[in-house]
């Protein structure tokens, strides 16, 4: 058994939670204290037993009006998968033009997620290519 302290991030109340966890791997939530509503318990379970995150980065673009396109995972991924997903993103090189929402990689890093473009990148005019 171990005690963990978290600040609940579900709503602006920001309840200070004290969570008792089992010693399993991954740990299981035994009890939660400090929450004002049931959402705090659900959040604590998720956060301790299977934390999920959305990850964003920027990727090189060839022939674009700007050198990088911003991208993110289209859904939250398991926290422990972040290194693999980032590795997959780092290998990407895209070609302009790119539209917002374009899927540039599916099943990144062995997860279910897709990597999507979050900013449209037009093709470079002759002038801008000179700069890049």
């Amino acid at each position: 058994m171990s005690l963990r302290e978290y600040t609940c991030v579900v709503c602006p109340n920001g309840c200070p939670l004290t969570i008792t966890c089992s010693d399993d791997d991954p740990p299981r939530v035994e009890s939660v204290e400090g929450h004002l509503c049931p959402r705090g318990i659900r959040w604590a379970r998720q956060e301790v037993e299977a934390p999920q995150r959305t990850i964003a980065s920027s990727v090189l673009v060839r022939g674009g009006e700007i050198p990088l396109a911003s991208v993110r995972t289209d859904r939250p991924i398991p926290l422990e998968k972040i290194p693999e997903v980032m590795q997959a993103i780092h290998k990407l090189v895209l070609s302009a033009p790119l539209a917002l929402g374009d899927v540039v990689l599916q099943g990144a890093g062995g997860t279910e997620c897709s990597i999507i473009v979050t900013r449209a990148v037009g093709a470079a005019t002759r002038n801008e290519e000179g700069v890049a």
């Binding site: 978290y6 600040t7 609940c8 991030v9 602006p12 109340n13 920001g14 309840c15 004002l36 956060e47 934390p51 995150r53 959305t54 990850i55 964003a56 980065s57 920027s58 090189l60 700007i66 050198p67 990088l68 911003s70 991208v71 993110r72 926290l79 972040i82 980032m86 917002l100 979050t118 900013r119 449209a120």
Partner: protein, 414 residues
């Protein structure tokens, strides 16, 4: 020289300018010019590639560029004229503007002007850290721009001074790009970032947050070699004997934002020393008739959703004023911050108009109420909150009907 006549000129094409332009158009204003000094619209959102924007407005966690795109798309469906790569050099209190862009310089006289210039970061000079002046010291937002937009990695071993959200976001960003972040140092006894960012940007990557600690000295000749950090006492001065040396090649500063009001000062607009932004009434009009302000140039916001909401209201008010020259100067009820409240906005309200008061508290606390009282002590509004934090803006609606016969309001912790 030719003087161009316009109904409404909006200065700045970030989240505030975009939302204000759309709402002014929807309110019936048909001659709007939006001026943006960057190549593209969107402002700071373009470099904020992380998610979490739009939870209130769109009920989705969007990245910054996606949030901007939603408003740019709305703007494209209006007849608002946009001039990018154009900078307003001067604004007069008679609402004349001097605009410069490549190969052109023009003068515009506007019936209404809306200020939406945003804010900028406090630099090293504002906090006077002793030491040498090597390269490798960046504001967190400058590093974010270089990494996310210019493809320039700013360093490998990083210390961060200040625990504002941009600093926390950059701690994660640099870690994901292969840098090692030695720690985040915060002079206050509490963090000024959102709990979500403490968890997801620091704890997830085992980056330590050192509260009550500051950077005392910067070392290095050409490139930064390290910083001396020290704990501070209750007076915020370093405690002797607590100094330690942390080797690093990069120091990011996340030590606060300042509304960008050079143009406002030019136009003799009165600034509130508490917000560092213009003093406005409930219609977001400054003390200069026909000049309105909204977004981070008015006061620094915590969430972009609130910037958009405020700007939509300001845009509507500007359109109404241009349309009817509706008098905006009659708001007579001063709103003063009392015990535990750092500032309130707008600084004057009217008994003929519903208003949403924005405010911030001076220190973190729990289970307190924010109370709005008349000078006679009558309670006009009250909001009970579980968590109150200086980093988070609080909003309280005020109904006009409760304000008749009152000469002044005070907002304090109850």
């Amino acid at each position: 020289m030719n003087v161009e006549e316009r109904d409404l000129v909006i200065i700045g094409g970030g989240p505030a300018g975009l939302a204000a332009a759309v709402s002014a158009w929807e309110a019936g204003c048909r001659d709007i010019l939006l001026v943006e000094r960057d190549r593209v619209l969107g402002g700071i959102l373009n470099q904020c590639i992380h998610d979490g924007f739009g939870l209130h407005t769109f009920k989705e966690a969007l990245s910054g560029p996606e949030y901007a795109a939603r408003y740019i798309e709305k703007l494209r469906r209006t007849g608002v004229e946009v001039r990018e790569q154009t900078m307003v050099l001067r604004l007069g209190k008679d609402r004349t503007l001097q605009l410069a862009s490549r190969g052109s310089y023009r003068t515009i006289r506007a019936r209404g002007v809306l200020l939406a210039m945003g804010c900028r970061e406090r630099p090293r000079g504002a906090i006077s850290i002793p030491g040498t002046r090597p390269s490798g010291v960046f504001t967190a937002g400058a590093a974010q721009h270089l990494m996310n937009l210019e493809n320039i990695m700013v360093g490998n071993r990083v210390c961060i001074l200040g625990s504002g959200d941009i600093g926390l976001i950059m701690a994660r960003r640099m870690t994901l790009e292969g840098a090692s972040v030695a720690g985040v140092f915060e002079i206050l006894p509490y963090s000024s970032g959102l709990p979500r960012n403490i968890q997801q940007c620091l704890n997830d990557y085992d980056i330590p947050l050192h509260l009550g600690t500051t950077v005392q000295k910067i070392h290095g000749s050409r490139r930064l070699e390290g910083v001396t950090v020290a704990q501070v006492g209750p007076d915020r001065c370093p405690v002797e004997g607590s100094e330690r040396y942390v080797p690093c090649d990069t120091l990011l500063l996340s030590v606060g934002l300042i509304p960008e009001n050079e143009l406002s000062r030019d136009a003799s607009i009165f600034l509130d020393p508490r917000t560092n932004g213009p003093l406005v009434n409930s219609r977001f009009m400054t003390r200069v008739p026909g000049i309105f302000a909204c977004g981070n140039v008015l006061h620094v916001h915590d969430l972009v959703d609130y910037v958009s909401q405020e700007a939509e209201e300001a845009g509507r008010c500007a359109a109404a004023w241009i349309d009817s020259s509706e008098s905006c100067g009659e708001d007579s009820l001063p709103v003063l911050p009392g015990e535990g409240v750092r500032y309130t906005l707008p600084q004057k309200v009217s008994s003929s108009r519903d208003t949403v008061l924005s405010l911030r508290v001076t220190a973190p606390c729990r289970n307190r109420s924010v109370v709005v009282r008349s000078s006679g002590g009558k309670i006009i509004a009250r909001k009970s909150l579980v968590r109150l934090h200086p980093a988070e803006m609080i909003r309280i609606p005020l109904e006009a009907k409760g304000l008749s016969g009152i000469s002044q309001l005070e907002v304090a912790l109850g």
